[in-house]
Structure formats: structure tokens, C-alpha cells
């Protein structure tokens, strides 16, 4: 069971958890509950291709709601090694369980410099609270 309190967050509202897998550092990425609520009425997600190289703080995925297209950013550089194939046909998962079943992609980290810029849960909650007002 993933606890939001144990994740790290980007100012652009992605969450990330990092784990060792087979000697590599692998980041699992998703978008926060706050982001899902702000996006409203999601209708489409364009997942990145497995194998794609992503750059830190650059968009790697796009979501469409009824009224808006938004970019999703990767806080780290690396290679996409898995994507959550169940999401495109079950976008409600992003709202129901954004931190576990709603994961978007796993990225094998090649440069973890961006990790230092991330917020812990308390700092992220503060950011959301400021943005909500």
C-alpha cells in the first residue's frame, strides 16, 4: 500500500517513488490527487513508448480533459521501461487510486540530479494549499 506521505513531488504535480530494481534505480511516476482534480473530466492519456529516453523536467506524457491538454513532466532523466497499459481505457483509476494503481510510467534513472529539486509531502501539501487560494 503506497502512502502519499512517503512519496516525493514535483512542483508540476507529478509524484515519484524510487526503488532499486536489478541494480538500477527505477522511478515510478504518476500525478497527484490534486492534479487529477484540477484537470477535471479526463478523457485521454497519451502514454510514452517503452524505450523512450526522457530528459529531466521535460514533458514525457500528455493528458486530455474535456477542455484542456496538459503535459506531464519527468523529474528525472532516464529510459521508460514500463507504462501502465490499463490507464487509457480506465482513466477513472487516476482519480480513484492515483498513488498506486494510477501509476503512469517507470523510468530507469540515468541522471538523478532532478531528485534534489523535489518536495516532500508536507512541502507539496503547502504548495497545493497556496495554489488552491
Amino acid at each position: 500500500m503506497v502512502k502519499p506521505e512517503e512519496l516525493l513531488y514535483a512542483k508540476t504535480h507529478e509524484w515519484i517513488s524510487v526503488a532499486e530494481e536489478g541494480g538500477d534505480k527505477v522511478a515510478t511516476l504518476g500525478i497527484s490527487a490534486f492534479a487529477v482534480e484540477a484537470l477535471t473530466d479526463l478523457v485521454y492519456i497519451d502514454l510514452p513508448a517503452v524505450g523512450r529516453q526522457v530528459e529531466a523536467e521535460q514533458p514525457f506524457c500528455e493528458v486530455e480533459s474535456v477542455k484542456a491538454v496538459s503535459d506531464i513532466y519527468s523529474p528525472v532523466a532516464g529510459e521508460v521501461i514500463a507504462v501502465n497499459e490499463t490507464l487509457p481505457d480506465n482513466l477513472e483509476i487516476l482519480g480513484e487510486d492515483p498513488y498506486e494503481q494510477g501509476w503512469i510510467a517507470k523510468i530507469k534513472i540515468t541522471d538523478e540530479a532532478g531528485l534534489g529539486e523535489l518536495l516532500d509531502h508536507a512541502a507539496y501539501e503547502k504548495l497545493c494549499s497556496e495554489e488552491a487560494h
Binding site: A38, Y44, E64, S65, K67, A68, V69, Y73, E131, A132
Partner: protein
């Protein structure tokens, strides 16, 4: 602006009123402005029109789906940065409103949508007598269709807050026609909202009547350009400053127009 009594402590918003241009130029301007607003933090309100009838595809739409609307097959085509359905831009006024992440309305997709549309509804209402058969209103019964079931054309879809001309109560049969639709693109908190105000029916989309067709009015784009900017500035707490694209931005627009919006790799990417 002449006669402007807006408090000077409000954030400045650059007002751009552009001449008609081709679709690739228009979309390139909007994208360059999105990056510019993200960089400067200064909002921009832009009005523009189209040199020739142009079909704009929503960001995720497939070019092959143009076959669903054969009447516009001869029109130029461009792919937008924003989502939603295709729009046949012809006899309309188009606007773009770009807000930085620091503006409170940039954070709330629906509030921004509604705020802009409420201003347009109010302005369109002033053109009509209370007894008019058709009255502008915001859509409150959005479509429940799945993405795959949605019509190809934006103006045949219904989203919360779209502007409809609705036949007044007591008139029959009841009916409505969408006359304003908007869509957003968000980048790191900065938002571009652009939308089309359908003034009159296009010969390439005769199934979509505009405001003038239904109301027997002769509303021109210039009439709206005279009224809407100050009203939009009021509701967003901004102070308008008339401006124009700088030479540096024009160079960026030209590059993006050629490299992206005129390119098949962008237009035909899906």
C-alpha cells in the same frame, strides 16, 4: 486606453488585435505567446481571424477522421495545440487568452472557461431584445458520450460552459446550437485558452448556424472587438495595454509556422 479608469495597480495584460492570417500563422502565434507568457508572467489577450476557411484539428484527433466531414475537405487544415474537436474557422472571431501560473484563474480550468464565456454571453445578450426567439446561454447539460463516440466537429459536441443559442421557453420545437467553444493548453501552470465565436454559417459547414443566422442580426467581429476586451479585463482583474508582436516574437512565430504548423509531420502526426 482612452477613457480607461482601471486602477493602475492591476497586472498589465497585453491586448493584441491581429489581422486575418493563415491557420499555421495563427496557431504559431498562440504557441509562441504561451511560452512568452510563461517567461514574462504578463497575460495576453488576443483577437484574430482567418484568411481562408481552415479546419483546425484538436491535438489528439486523427487526420484520417477528416473523412467524417466531407464538406470541409477542400479547406486548409492545421493541428491545434489544444484538445477537443475539429473547428471549421471561417466567419468567426477567434480569441486567445493567456494567463501565467500566478493568475488565480489559470489554476482552475472550468472557472477560466466559465469566466470568459459569461462575458461573451452577456455581450451577445445585449445585441438581442428580451423577446428574441434565440437567447445565448451556458451549456449545463454536457454530453455523456465517450471520447470515441463524440462527433468530429467541436460545434457538434456539448461541454459544460459551452455557449449555446437556445430557443426561448415557450417556443417550439426546443433546440439549441453551439456558437462558442473554447479549449485550453497548459504548460507548467501557464494556460492558453482559445476559442471561436461563430458569427455566421460557413459554406463548408452549413449544418452549423452562427449567431447572425439564428438571430437575424448583423454582428461583426469588430463590434465584439470593441466591447469584449475591457469586459474580459474586468472579470480577470487585469489592466489592458494595447500592444503588438515584437520583431523578435514575429521571428519566432515565423520559424514555428514553417517548422511545425505547416509541416506534415505535425499536421499528420496522428
Amino acid at each position: 486606453m482612452p477613457g480607461d479608469t482601471t486602477p493602475s495597480n492591476l497586472t498589465e495584460c497585453q491586448l493584441l488585435i491581429d489581422p486575418p492570417a493563415d491557420g499555421a500563422w495563427n496557431m504559431a502565434v498562440d504557441e509562441v505567446l504561451l511560452d512568452e507568457v510563461a517567461s514574462t508572467g504578463q497575460p495576453v489577450l488576443r483577437f484574430y481571424q482567418w484568411q481562408q476557411p481552415t479546419l483546425s484539428l484538436g491535438y489528439f484527433q486523427a487526420i484520417a477522421d477528416r473523412t467524417q466531414h466531407p464538406a470541409s475537405a477542400s479547406a486548409d487544415v492545421v493541428r491545434r495545440l489544444s484538445g477537443g474537436g475539429a473547428i471549421l474557422h471561417d466567419r468567426e472571431l477567434t480569441y486567445s487568452f493567456l494567463l501565467p501560473a500566478t493568475h488565480e484563474l489559470s489554476r482552475d480550468t472550468q472557472r477560466l472557461y466559465d469566466s470568459v464565456h459569461q462575458v461573451i454571453v452577456k455581450q451577445l445578450s445585449t445585441q438581442l431584445p428580451d423577446s428574441a426567439e434565440w437567447q445565448p446561454t451556458l451549456c449545463d447539460t454536457p454530453s455523456v458520450l465517450s471520447r470515441r463516440e463524440e462527433p468530429f466537429l467541436c460545434f457538434q459536441r456539448r461541454a459544460q460552459g459551452d455557449i449555446l443559442l437556445q430557443r426561448s421557453a415557450g417556443q417550439s420545437p426546443t433546440a439549441d446550437h453551439k456558437i462558442v467553444g473554447s479549449a485550453q493548453r497548459r504548460r507548467r501552470g501557464t494556460v492558453l485558452q482559445h476559442g471561436s465565436i461563430l458569427l455566421s454559417r460557413s459554406a463548408l459547414a452549413t449544418e452549423l448556424p452562427g449567431f447572425n443566422d439564428l438571430t437575424d442580426q448583423h454582428l461583426a467581429a469588430d463590434d465584439l472587438i470593441r466591447c469584449l476586451p475591457s469586459q474580459l479585463a474586468n472579470v480577470t482583474q487585469l489592466r489592458l495595454v494595447e500592444g503588438k508582436l515584437t520583431d523578435a516574437l514575429i521571428t519566432k512565430v515565423r520559424q514555428l509556422q514553417q517548422a511545425k504548423y505547416q509541416s506534415a509531420s505535425w499536421t499528420d502526426r496522428r
